[in-house]
């Protein structure tokens, strides 16, 4: 083996090693992206499922068994949340009972999915603006966190009466 062949062989091995390392690095980052995607889809589906659950409830505590004609007859904006005796989700009977509700689910190998719900009145003509007074529209935001996701995922929906 002459020196040029040796250099070529050494260079080849170095190049090949670098290639394998790069490939491994790419593969693991690709696997991480796939993992994040799985977490994202699962977590977002959980959030959407909770939205669907919430929409089966009455608009307000005061519309559970009756009707209201004026926003003033709805629950005050500063008292969103479940009433006494409504200790679990199955007992929640109106949308804002879910305010500050937290729910944790897990998927094998993907860590915990923590869902936090916030419910608030919005200005009906400007739906992205929070209202401090009762209106006939409530917005539900569900924020979902997972250790494999870089940022919080938020799913929102507006419910009106």
């Amino acid at each position: 083996m002459n020196s040029s062949t040796f250099l070529l062989l050494a260079g080849g091995i170095l190049f090949f090693t670098n290639l394998v390392l790069t490939f491994n690095k790419t593969s693991s980052s690709q696997a991480l992206v796939v993992y994040e995607n799985e977490c994202f889809i699962y977590g977002e589906s959980l959030s959407q499922g909770l939205i669907e659950e919430i929409q089966t409830r009455a608009f307000d505590e005061n519309t559970v068994s009756g009707t209201v004609d004026s926003p003033e007859d709805l629950s005050p904006a500063n008292s969103m949340g479940h009433e006494g005796g409504e200790d679990s989700m199955n007992q929640f009977d109106d949308i804002d009972d879910f305010n500050n509700y937290s729910y944790t689910d897990s998927l094998s190998g993907h860590g915990n999915f923590v869902l936090n719900v916030s419910v608030y009145y919005i200005n009906t003509s400007l739906p992205d603006v929070i209202s401090n007074l009762p209106t006939f529209s409530k917005r539900v935001d569900i924020s979902m966190d997972n250790p494999y996701l870089e940022s919080t995922v938020i799913v929102s929906k507006i419910f009106s009466y």
């Binding site: 070529l8 490939f23 929906k157 507006i158 419910f159 009466y161």
Partner: protein, 379 residues
């Protein structure tokens, strides 16, 4: 040796290159699918939220309409929406349409609600001029189904089975939508005209439609609600004094009811046996907006005398038979079985059924501000 190493190196580079490209392609697809999934959910929520907002606006003001598409930003996306009057399955309704776009994905939601919240509280089986749980058959010449002097009303008919029009070479005119669940048998050469009064979208005047659910009525189970009770057959004629709109008089008849005369006030006959209308059944002061007299039976109804005038909203578990010619009927007919018109020159003038005469016996809406979504579709 050198060549061999070069060949191995080049082969490895090509091999790793192909593998990396394939993996990247799959990864790109997975990420694209995730973005697509996310956008679908977002767009769906935006469109549904817009429908909710529009429903609320409509509940605030029943004249609220958006006839040309309006666009607004909502929940991080944009949505285009309309609120229009539109006929659906023969019913005059309000169509709410929202088309949301989020990250290039579009979702459409179409919902239908009632034109008037008050009429929403009238169940669908009371909102037709003629509704037959089985066949609807016209067998006579020059028969008409039209509005009772209000061209804003469509005189709609529906049969859960077959609709058959036999005009004997003469005419049939219907100023409303004609729908059927099984079939429609008609000879157009006989002068049949079906032309709704209200049809802003040019919907077909006659078409297939799903069956309408018609409940069973038990008069005896409402006997305790009655102001007057007759356990056997009962005949009425002359002046029949009933109650008020808020407190209609309820009369229970355990046998057959034979009735004609002039009714004052609002009232309901609940009859376990059949009902025979053998002469004029008039109102002393008709209400131009709705019926004042209701005839509900667990059995059948027969209008059995020619050239009479009858004012009532009729519900029968069994057949409703208009058995003579020249009858002028004002109100609405609902039958759990078939409706047959056997006679010439019969006019069925549609007048909406009264909620106050329905509510004591049939499930009605809350009558509150919330509008019921009657039909819903996501695309």
């Amino acid at each position: 040796m050198g060549k061999a190493i070069l060949i191995i190196l080049l082969s490895s580079v090509i091999l790793f290159g192909i593998i990396t490209l394939n993996t990247n392609k799959k990864l790109e697809q997975v990420t694209s699918d995730t973005v697509d999934h996310h956008s679908q959910i977002r767009a769906r929520n935006i469109a549904n939220s817009m429908i909710q907002i529009a429903l609320s606006d409509l509940a605030n003001d029943n004249s609220y309409r958006v006839t040309s598409p309006q666009t607004k930003d909502l929940l991080g996306g944009s949505v285009s929406y309309t609120v229009k009057d539109k006929n659906f399955a023969g019913e005059p309704l309000i169509q709410l349409y929202a088309e949301a776009t989020y990250f290039g994905i579009t979702k459409k939601v179409i919902a239908y609600t009632e034109v008037d919240p008050a009429s929403a509280s009238v169940p669908p089986f009371f909102s037709y001029s003629v509704l037959a749980g089985d066949d609807y058959r016209i067998d006579g010449a020059n028969n008409n189904v039209e509005d009772d002097v209000n061209p804003l009303w469509n005189s709609n008919t529906h049969s859960n089975a077959e609709t058959e029009l036999t005009c004997h070479g003469e005419n049939y005119l219907q100023k409303g939508f004609l729908t059927y669940t099984t079939s429609f048998d008609v000879d157009w050469s006989e002068g049949v005209t079906i032309s709704p009064n209200q049809n802003p979208d040019g919907d077909p005047a006659y078409s297939f439609a799903p069956a309408v659910t018609i409940p069973d009525f038990s008069a005896v189970s409402h006997k305790n609600d009655a102001d007057e009770v007759y356990e056997s057959d009962k005949t009425y004629s002359g002046t029949i004094t009933m109650g008020t709109k808020d407190n209609p008089k309820i009369i229970y008849v355990g046998g057959q009811l034979s009735i004609q005369g002039t009714v004052t006030g609002y009232g309901v006959f609940i009859v376990q046996g059949g009902i025979v209308i053998g002469g004029d059944l008039l109102l002393d002061t008709p209400d131009p907006t709705e019926s004042k007299l209701a005839l509900y039976t667990s059995s059948r109804v027969r209008m059995d005398y020619q050239n009479i005038e009858v004012h009532a909203q009729i519900f029968a578990n069994g057949r409703v038979l208009v058995d003579e010619g020249g009858i002028e009927f004002h109100g609405s007919i609902t039958s759990g079985e078939d409706v047959r018109v056997r006679g010439d020159d019969v006019d069925l003038y549609y007048k909406p059924a009264s909620r106050s005469l329905i509510a004591p016996f049939f499930e009605v809406g809350s009558g509150g501000r919330r509008l019921a979504v009657l039909y819903y579709n996501e695309q």
